[in-house]
């Protein structure tokens, strides 16, 4: 139930709008902590949205994306009640995935 991904997909008839908010530090590897030591890079590299077995949107990210990243896009089609799969992988190989129903 609990997931790092909060996603909302809304059908507007012809298109489906998807908004996602992910909990992730997105450390770029250029920031120092209070002791002056560099915080090692830790950021999501790939975020994929799938609908009907096909990728509808793929984000390739670097450390320049803000902490707890947000992204919004829209695709043609998509029916209310259909499922969208969302998954991410970061530079340490950690991953998370979830699904949501189009509203």
């Amino acid at each position: 139930m609990a997931s790092s991904i909060r996603v909302r997909a809304t059908s507007t008839g012809d298109t489906t709008e998807v908004q996602a908010l992910i909990q992730h530090p997105m450390d770029s590897g250029f920031v120092k902590d209070a002791k002056g030591e560099i915080i090692p890079p830790h950021f999501i590299q790939e975020l994929t949205f799938e609908y009907d077995g096909k990728a509808v949107f793929v984000a390739d990210w670097g450390g320049g994306i803000s902490k707890d990243p947000y992204v919004k896009f829209a695709f043609k089609g998509g029916n209310k009640g259909d499922e969208i799969k969302i998954g991410w992988v970061d530079n340490k190989g950690t991953s998370d995935a979830t699904t949501t129903k189009i509203q």
Partner: protein, 164 residues
């Protein structure tokens, strides 16, 4: 006022708790299923492009060609960003056959911030939030019909997003 604050801290605690649970689940069950599905979905992560220190090199590493400026690429971004750690930027285009949209910040230590793959049927419009080290040009590159188009805008940053 006090009620608001305590409400906030409670939700915050709840969120932190759920984040912890998510981390546990993330370590356990899910990684088995996910990476294969992701790997099969599309091309590889452009590791090399995310190592480039200047804009031209990053675009070349990503697309292998150079873009031409186009007024059909529209960027929606603030003139002045008070907090460089979170700069909301969106891009959209009236060009057809768009396959990719990328965001680059010239003055960032790593110029390329994000590159989005747009399959057929997905609208050529994306919104996200980026970090900016300091006042810089931000470039949006759109790949449409095998050609590259770009738009650039200077965004002033009052407080940089690279900590320190």
């Amino acid at each position: 006022m006090t009620i608001v604050t305590s409400e906030f801290s409670r939700t915050r605690r709840l969120m932190l708790k759920s984040a912890g649970v998510a981390a546990l689940i993330g370590l356990g069950v899910i990684p088995l299923g996910v990476p294969q599905a992701l790997a099969a979905a599309n091309d590889k992560y452009p590791e090399d492009a995310f190592k480039q220190k200047n804009e031209a090199d990053a675009i070349k590493a990503l697309y292998g060609k150079t873009p031409e400026p186009s007024d059909k690429v529209k960027m929606d971004a603030p003139e002045i960003a008070e907090n460089g750690a979170v700069v909301p930027i969106s891009a959209t285009t009236t060009l057809s056959d768009v396959t990719s949209i990328s965001f680059l910040v010239t003055e960032n230590p790593v110029t390329l911030v994000a590159s989005y793959r747009i399959p057929a049927g997905t609208l050529p419009s994306v919104a996200n939030r980026i970090k900016m080290a300091k006042t810089s040009n931000v470039t949006v590159v759109v790949e449409a019909g095998g050609k590259l188009y770009s738009a650039a805008k200077e965004i002033k940053v009052t407080v940089g997003g690279c900590g320190g």
